[in-house]
């Protein structure tokens, strides 16, 4: 077992330091790159906080959908393959809901400020029958 502080805490401390103390004194292209770098640290923080739960839920949905067990990557490969072959599509019970949930979980880490994500978060709720 590793000691504290946790990676989450360390990364957040670094990101906060760069944001509050360093960024105001940097200009030009480096300011842009610094902003991107801080965004990257924030993304890592969100991933460290959220990934374990969302991965576990994704594995369990995938196992149910595909009727097999496996690692998250193996299950995703199997799902991609079966969609490509047309064995699963939007008419398959649970597929649209699964893709929506998985995508929402990705956006929560990658870009929680993305307008489409915020819209779906507000108007979300259980997936209804797909249109096509």
């Amino acid at each position: 077992m590793q000691d504290e502080p946790t990676p989450e805490e360390l990364i957040k401390a670094v990101a906060d330091f760069l944001r509050s103390d360093i960024a105001p004194g940097v200009s030009g292209h480096n300011a842009f790159k610094l902003r991107v770098s801080i965004n990257a640290l924030d993304l890592v923080s969100r991933q460290l906080t959220l990934e374990q739960d969302s991965d576990a839920a994704e594995v369990s949905r995938l196992s149910q959908l595909l009727g097999v067990q496996g690692s998250l990557t193996a299950l995703n490969r199997a799902l991609a393959d079966r969609i490509a072959k047309g064995e699963l599509d939007l008419q398959t019970p649970g597929l649209a809901e699964h893709l929506w949930q998985t995508t929402m979980d990705k956006l929560a880490v990658d870009q929680p400020n993305y307008a489409s994500y915020k819209r779906e978060l507000g108007e979300g709720g259980p997936a209804t029958k797909p249109s096509s």
Binding site: L43, L99, Q111, G124, P130
Partner: protein, 328 residues
């Protein structure tokens, strides 16, 4: 150094010019550069732009039209009265500047967030979609006999290209699979009209002033194909910059875009436009994945590219909103 090189030959293509000044590099990677500079002229300085592949970087990627073709297209557009800078000079070996061309500099803004939010563009925003519809129709109407040699694209070829590129990443993306399947099943086949297609008709490649669109830039992806591609691409959500209820670049409606387009006598096929919007959304997603590959394999180790890789999920939510909307 580039000022000196430009200055040496400037009088040969701009009569009366005595030199160049104020050269600054604007953007671009190693293989393609854009420079802004002023031509010093007794009648008053002239703002100019150099777009070039430096010596030794002649080969262009397979999708690129090539700088000579770009110059021809810009000049054709200019001559047809479309918003396009005048091409002043196409580089020759004598210039020792590589391949490329020099065009007139057009003042205005290309940054989407400014165009969508700054007060100075408040009067332009409501008219842009209609204007751009008209401009797109003008591009599609350029005479085929005068066009340079360009690659020909069809929906079927584009789907195959996207699929090949996506598969090369060897990373499972069920939403992309769904989109590829959707595209293949609804592939409308070759368009009954094959025209010049700009290929990258969106924010970043449009110079906007307070009075509206002033120039269409960057013809690198120009090709012959289905003209509806340009109308679909400009509606891709990634170019709305948060203004998601205004499908055309975050400033206008499809109806306005189509009305401007049809005011020229050309026809819009809305179903094909939607098809290309889905294709374009997937294409941007695949391009984001490509950025991540380049981050990993390239020598620059660019954090920007790495973070663009993490934007492919944005196109996944947009694809789901298009293909499997949660509300009726």
């Amino acid at each position: 150094m580039i000022e000196e090189q430009l200055g040496r030959g400037v009088a040969s293509w701009c009569p009366g010019a005595t030199g160049v000044a104020g050269a600054v590099r604007l953007s671009g990677g190693a293989s393609q550069e854009t420079w802004s500079f002023d031509i010093v002229h007794p009648d008053g300085n002239i703002g100019a732009i150099l777009r070039r592949a430096p010596p030794g970087y002649g080969a262009s990627p397979t999708r690129a039209a090539g700088l000579d073709a770009e110059a021809t297209l810009m000049q054709l557009a200019h001559d047809a009265g479309l918003p396009s800078p005048r091409v002043m000079h196409v580089l020759t070996p004598k210039d020792e500047l590589g391949t490329g061309f020099i065009m007139q500099r057009v003042d205005g803004e290309t940054i989407a967030r400014k165009i969508l939010r700054d007060q100075q563009f408040a009067k332009a925003r409501p008219i842009l979609a209609r204007q751009l519809g008209k401009v797109a129709a003008g591009i599609h109407g350029l005479p085929a006999s005068k066009l340079p040699k360009l690659r020909q694209m069809t929906t079927t070829k584009e789907i195959a290209d996207l699929e090949r590129e996506y598969r090369s990443f060897d990373w499972p993306r069920p939403v992309f699979e769904l989109a590829l399947r959707w595209l293949r099943q609804r592939d409308p086949g070759p368009s009954d009209q094959m025209t010049l297609v700009h290929g990258d008709f969106r924010h970043g490649n449009l110079i906007i002033g307070p009075d509206g669109v002033r120039a269409v830039l960057d013809w690198e992806l120009a090709h012959i194909g289905d003209p509806m591609e340009d109308l679909g691409w400009i509606c891709v959500n990634s170019w709305r910059f948060g203004e998601i209820d205004k499908p055309v670049g975050g400033f206008g409606s499809r109806e306005e875009l189509f009305a401007g387009y049809e005011s020229t006598g050309r026809r819009v096929d809305p179903e094909r436009v939607t098809f290309w919007e889905v294709m374009g959304t997937l294409r941007w997603g695949v391009m984001c994945c490509g950025m991540m590959q380049r981050f990993r394999s390239g020598p620059e180790h660019s954090i920007e590219r790495a973070m663009i890789g993490r934007r492919s999920s944005e196109t996944e939510i947009d694809l789901l909103r298009l293909l499997a909307p949660r509300r009726a």
